[in-house]
Amino acid sequence: MSIQDFIDSQVKSNDIVVFMKGTPQFPMCGFSGQVAQIFTLLGADYKGINVLDSDEIRQGIKQYTNWPTIPQIFVKGEFVGGCDILREMYQSGELQTLLEEKGIPVMGRASA
């Protein structure tokens, strides 16, 4: 299986996938940590893929999305963006709406 096929299969077989530096329990970079925190606050489960484990994945994901940085977030196979887009969406409540629309259970709603 090529790296692009692997990435494609991962993003299509999990509701939320985060290509990150480190793991959900131990993010190894500030931006990955912020993403982990947002999903923890929402109580939304996600699959964390640690790009530090494989340089092939680390470069492959950047080609897959034509996005040069890590972390990268996918919801139902769709590329949502990086840390700052996710944070903007969370603060505006847009992320909660997107998850609900996609049928992904969400706990807290950001206060208005």
Partner: protein, 78 residues
């Protein structure tokens, strides 16, 4: 490795000639920048596309020598 604000600004403007760029050094180390970019060319584009336009303008340094660039993209107020 780090990059100067002026260098990042120049790259963004080369790619987006009408862009207004405001740089902020997040960590004071010249390695974690925040850029607010206002450009008419963003109109009608999704946030991801807008950010991709800025990353394309910056090109090769992005994700390499320029470790992190937090972005805020906006359309000029009419």
């Amino acid at each position: 490795m780090a990059m100067e604000a002026a260098e990042i600004e120049r790259l963004i403007r080369d790619g987006l000639p009408d862009a207004q760029v405001t740089m902020r050094d997040l960590a004071g180390d010249g390695n974690h920048w925040h850029a607010t970019v206002v450009s008419e060319s963003f109109r009608g584009k999704s946030r991801v596309q807008q950010h991709q336009m800025v990353y394309a303008a910056i090109g090769e340094p992005m994700g390499g020598v320029l470790h992190a660039l937090a972005l805020q993209t906006e359309i000029p107020k009419a």
